[in-house]
């Protein structure tokens, strides 16, 4: 398998970084969120089987811009993270307003036991 690159960025640089990646012709593979030591978001991209990961650490208080203006199909990932983890992602098109999943608990993945 090809190399996996991991790049850490600050949440403020998110859109500019992703803009660069999009211009390089990468495909969005996944957005993953991990809830340990703050919300850790990993955006994974693929080009010719090479995996590029962009990582940023945020919390549930800070607002994070949506990348759905650059990658329209990111809306499902972002809605999912917003709903399950409670990360405040703004400007998702379309925004499901926490109604994507039918769950009785609010942000079930966001709480640490």
């Amino acid at each position: 398998m090809k190399e996996q690159i991991l790049k850490e960025i600050s949440p403020n640089d998110l859109l500019t970084e992703i803009m660069k990646i999009k211009n390089d012709g990468y495909r969005l593979v996944a957005i993953s969120c991990t809830n340990k030591n703050g919300m850790e978001l990993t955006y994974s991209f693929d080009k010719d089987y090479e995996l590029l990961n962009i990582r940023l650490i945020t919390d549930t208080e800070t607002e994070l811009p949506s990348i759905s203006i650059l990658y329209p199909y990111s809306f499902l990932y972002e809605n999912e993270i917003k709903e399950l983890f409670g990360v405040k992602i703004t400007g998702i098109i379309p925004d499901f307003n926490d109604n994507l999943y039918k769950i009785p608990v609010k942000t079930p993945f966001g709480v640490n036991e």
Partner: protein, 359 residues
């Protein structure tokens, strides 16, 4: 502008094997927009990793979905193996490949049956599932389960297949290939099938890329993308080429999946010829620490496994990005401007697996 109506589609619908809800905005008979609503079978399996230790989670991972069961288990095990630097014995890798390809075969046969059912060709549906039954019997004989195998383990596989059984599988597959040719020729040549699938839901190459489609959906639009070419497991030692088609419509997607079935049979044959002797698993000691991304090719497309471990026996996070999740945006796009009667077929051609999507 015609009359606008909203038709709720699903979660209970004859064409859907699993619940998904779509709000279809119609203008007369044409779909203008489709809004998905999922979450009827969200079980929170990713969160369960904090309660089950990393070895128990093997069994949870393969229960994410019934049809891609084996590859879910395999993807999870591979990610832990990669973190812990475990080298799986070669025979184990080959056995995994055999089961993975058999899974693809049974998944595609299931899908063909459902497709035939969706356009009302009942006898063809029965025929496809009759063939699938033989694959399920192989599963039961070799692993003990018809759908959930429980054979994949961190460090290899649990059960071996004897050489007599391998020969038997070979004969069964040769017989099946003949019948498969007969059945699939109906899908390819029959006029009524063509009428329902040709030119329906066209996804151009550019669109497929822009919408992030994966698996047969992307390959039917001419994108050559197959994670198996990266040579995980035993795929590096096998000879194959990704199957693509430039059509981009339902017919092209059917053809791609049909060709993939024959390819799977061929790959299994190659595996049976090349399988070496020796151990099938290695003992794994200690606890994982680190993180890893693993990508595999499931019957429905690329699956991403992200595993993060912290040095204890409980993992921090397992994240599964399943192929249907990536194909949903493409489905929504193809639904635009199609007629209401084509909606069931279009939903089926992405081969939706909602259990995977919601986990």
């Amino acid at each position: 502008m015609g009359n606008r109506t909203i038709v709720p589609f699903g979660p209970q619908h004859p064409v859907l094997p699993e619940p998904i809800h779509l709000d279809l905005v119609l203008e007369d008979e044409t779909v203008v927009e489709a809004i998905p609503r999922i979450g009827y079978i969200h079980r929170g399996l990713e969160k369960l990793v904090e309660k089950r230790d990393y070895q128990q989670y093997c069994y949870v991972a393969e229960r994410i979905c019934g049809i891609c069961s084996f590859m879910h288990g395999m993807g999870y095990c591979m990610s832990i193996e990669r973190i812990m630097d475990v080298e799986v014995p070669e025979r184990g890798e080959f056995l995994r490949t055999i089961w993975a390809e058999l899974s693809r075969l049974h998944s595609h046969l299931l899908w063909l049956g459902l497709l035939a059912d969706a356009f009302g060709f009942e006898s063809l549906f029965m025929q496809s599932w009759k063939l699938r039954e033989q694959v399920l019997d192989i599963f039961e004989e070799t692993t003990g389960g018809r759908v959930i195998f429980s054979v994949c383990d961190i460090g290899g596989v649990r059960k071996d297949i004897s050489s007599e059984t391998l020969m038997k599988i070979r004969t069964v597959l040769t017989e099946m290939e003949k019948e498969l040719k007969e059945t699939t020729s109906v899908f390819i040549n029959d006029t009524t099938v063509k009428l329902r699938t040709k030119g329906v839901g066209v996804l151009t190459k550019q669109m497929a890329f822009d919408l992030g489609a994966v698996g047969p959906m992307a390959r039917a639009s001419g994108i050559e993308m197959d994670m198996r070419t990266q040579g995980y497991s035993a795929y590096g030692k096998l000879d194959f080429k990704p199957i693509t088609n430039d059509g981009g419509d339902c017919y092209a997607r059917t053809r791609v999946r049909i060709k993939e079935m024959f390819q799977s049979i061929d790959l299994i044959r190659q595996c049976i010829d090349k399988i070496p002797g020796g151990d099938i698993n290695v003992k794994v000691k200690g606890t994982p620490n680190g993180e890893q991304f693993i990508r595999l090719e499931q019957p429905r497309g690329e699956v991403v496994y992200y595993t993060k471990a912290n040095g204890t026996k409980f993992l921090d996070r397992v994240r599964v990005r399943t192929p249907t999740f990536a194909n949903l945006p493409a489905l929504l796009e193809t639904l635009k401007n199609c007629s209401l009667a084509d909606v069931p077929i279009l939903i089926l051609t992405i081969d939706p697996c909602i259990s995977c999507t919601e986990r």
